[in-house]
């Protein structure tokens, strides 16, 4: 787990501020940004995968049954999947308070 | 230190003259500097080039204002420019001209020694072109032995390659034919 920037002193920075643990952006929990959650209605879903393709954060994954669901660690709740869904099977639901 | 100013027109090789003289001096183990009057190249425009030669390292990085020697590559400059400006009292003005040295001296009204050579004629006969830079170097070395004339052969050969021989002939002829008027 990358350290929070608040924990870093100037001497901790690598030469040229290089990030040597490449790909550590994956540790960033963007799911915390979400206020609306996408929910799939399996009765309408044709498993075409358009939502998977259009998700700007690659936060939609395929289940073992071939349906799709949001990876809640990364899904920001942007709703692009709802916009793009061919059958209208996805709806945005309010996150619990 | 000997300071030399060359007057020519853009494209006539005044800068090359200064460079060849500096290279000859350096090859003798002397210190030398050659540099153009800095700026954009303009063919035909009056230009000057400078050369300093000394036995000690040269620290001066300015233009030359009181030259020991002035070399004029193009006689048409004599009526355009005060080529003798700043020339030291014991200096020499070396010019390409078809007139006699007495005529030139009177026209310019200078007291310093004058060296004259019909460099256009020599250059036309030897090179087939009125480019007088190497010819005027011969005349310069007759007027004052800044370097040994043989020291120029190497730089001339390196610069001119297959036409070096023609330039060396022009250089040697000018060295022999220059007229000095004190």
């Amino acid at each position: 787990m990358a350290r929070s920037e608040e924990d870093l002193k100037w001497k901790d920075l690598e030469t040229g501020c290089v990030v040597s643990d490449a790909g550590n952006a994956s540790q960033y929990r963007t799911g915390d940004w979400r206020s609306l959650l996408p929910v799939w209605d399996k009765t309408k879903c044709i498993r075409c995968g358009v939502c998977f393709l259009f998700c700007p954060d690659a936060a939609i994954r395929k289940t073992s049954e071939g349906y799709f669901e949001a990876d809640l660690y990364y899904c920001k709740g942007c709703g692009i999947c709802v916009q793009e869904c061919v059958t209208g099977c996805i709806t945005m639901v309010e996150e619990e308070e | 230190m000997i300071e030399i100013r060359f007057h020519g027109r853009g494209g006539q090789g005044a800068v090359t003259s200064a460079e060849l003289l500096a290279l000859a001096a350096i090859s003798e183990g002397k210190y030398a500097q050659a540099f153009p009057s800095f700026g954009p190249e303009r063919r035909g425009a009056p230009v000057v080039a400078f050369c300093r030669v000394d036995d000690h390292p040269i620290r001066l990085r300015t233009n030359i204002y009181s030259p020991d020697l002035v070399v004029v590559l193009d006689p048409s400059l004599l009526r355009l420019i005060n080529v003798a400006a700043g020339l030291k009292e014991n200096g020499v003005l070396i010019t390409n001209t078809k007139f006699t040295s007495e005529e030139i001296k009177e026209r310019l009204g200078i007291k310093q020694t004058l060296a004259t050579i019909n460099a256009n004629k020599i250059a036309l006969e030897e090179l087939g072109l009125p480019i007088t830079n190497t010819t005027m170097l011969g005349s310069l070395l007759n007027a004052r032995q800044v370097v040994h004339p043989d020291s120029l052969i190497g730089p001339l050969e390196k610069r001119f390659g297959r036409i070096a021989d023609k330039n060396i002939r022009a250089f040697r002829r000018a060295f022999a034919e220059t007229v000095i008027l004190n």
Binding site: W10, G16, C17, V19 | F38, L60, R61, T62
Partner: protein, 392 residues
């Protein structure tokens, strides 16, 4: 050591780049830097130098290519002047913050407008605070020597910063003078192979040039500042090592006839040589005058400079650039700041001269000396600086 050869300084500089066995050159031609880049492209085209020569479409691209090249672990060189440096500007700052050891020769030239191709220090002053190591040279030999120095310092893993070697446009670039070449063996001994601190390598991927939030930017800049300050001992070491090989000794601040001097001239670059003649002449008249030259402009050698002028009463600071609306030239501002806390701080007179190639002669410097004796400490004077020779 080799015999001195007569050669144009630009060509000698290009030969030195070749002897430094550079891997990549990306540059765009601009007066008065042109001869350096032309000669390098010839050397590559003739097969005399095994390097990539990338003729880019602009200076912005030139330095961008250099960043990619250096990040990939190649020994990288660029060369520019004036407007070219201005067009590079954003990348200049990035190269330093990425700590990439690129070497640049900067043929100093004024910035437009009015359009001018001649020499002064306006261009380098525009990137003074970019984080590059910046050194000044006085003659062709120093340019030649400093090519090897620049790569050695830049690529030193304890430094890993880009280096600019300043040489005065035309006054140095276009002069033919004797230069002593190094033996290739000496170069190879002085300049080890480049072992980059970080490289772009698919087997060990890293991110370079990531963005930083306000929470970390300050720390990033502190680290960069420390790197530049801490490069000084390594710079001094590189000069000492060079001295052992070639017998020419360089240091961050150099002095001439400083003993007993009450007044000193302060210069950077080729003017130092002409000033040395003015100092000789003034000394011959019995004047207590000497000379201080700043070779290392960034990181600024604060301790060395304070030590050099400890017993001096009056400093004539020669500036070849102007800080419009400020208090004179950038060098004078720096010097005032460095000396402000000194107990016996000398008086400072500041002359702006030699702008855009205007010749400054030994007599001019002697004149400035006389003016400075009158001006120094005169509280009634209206200006903090004089634009020397300006027609009123």
């Amino acid at each position: 050591m080799n015999k001195k050869v007569g050669i144009e300084v630009s060509l000698a500089a290009a030969d030195a780049i070749k002897m430094a066995n550079v891997d990549l050159i990306a540059a765009y031609p601009i007066t008065p830097q042109t001869h350096i880049v032309e000669h390098l492209s010839e050397l590559v085209a003739n097969g005399e130098l095994d390097a990539e020569f990338i003729p880019v479409e602009s200076e912005h691209s030139a330095l961008s290519v250099c960043i990619g090249s250096s990040a990939a672990g190649a020994r990288t060189f660029t060369c520019t002047s004036s407007q070219g440096l201005a067009l590079m500007n954003e990348i200049v700052f990035i190269a330093a913050s990425l700590r990439l050891p690129i070497v640049m020769i900067l043929a100093n030239r004024s910035l437009s407008g009015p359009l001018s191709i001649w020499n002064d220090h306006t261009d380098v002053m525009s990137i003074r605070d970019s984080g590059w190591i910046q050194v000044f040279t006085e003659n062709g030999q120093e340019v030649f020597d400093h090519v090897f120095f620049a790569f050695r310092v830049a690529e030193n893993p304890k430094v890993s910063l880009p280096v600019i070697v300043n040489l005065d446009g035309f006054i140095l670039t276009h002069v033919i003078e004797p230069i002593q070449y190094w033996d290739q063996e000496a170069v190879d001994k002085y300049l080890p192979d480049f072992k980059p601190v970080n490289t772009l390598n698919p087997d060990a991927p890293v991110t370079m040039g990531a963005f930083a939030m306000p929470g970390i930017y300050t720390e990033a800049k502190k680290a960069q500042d420390e790197a530049l300050i801490k490069s000084k001992p390594e710079i001094i070491k590189a000069w000492k090592e060079m001295g052992k090989i070639i017998g020419r000794n360089y240091s961050p601040v150099e002095t001439n006839q400083i003993k007993g001097a009450e007044t000193v001239f302060l210069t950077m670059g080729s003017m130092g040589e002409t000033v040395s003649i003015a100092v000789d002449k003034l000394r011959a008249q019995g004047q207590k005058v000497g000379q201080v030259k700043i070779r290392l402009w960034r990181p600024f050698p604060v301790e060395e400079f304070r030590k050099a002028v400890r017993n001096v009463k009056n400093i004539i600071v020669i500036d070849r650039a102007l800080s419009f609306g400020g208090q004179g030239g950038p060098v004078a501002g720096e010097i005032r700041s460095v000396l402000y806390d000194e107990e016996n701080r000398p008086l400072i007179t500041n002359f702006i001269c030699g702008l855009a190639g205007r010749d400054v002669t030994t007599d001019n410097f002697i004149d400035m000396y006389e003016m400075s004796l009158k001006m120094a400490g005169d509280k009634s004077k209206e200006e903090d600086y004089v634009m020397y020779g300006v027609r009123e």
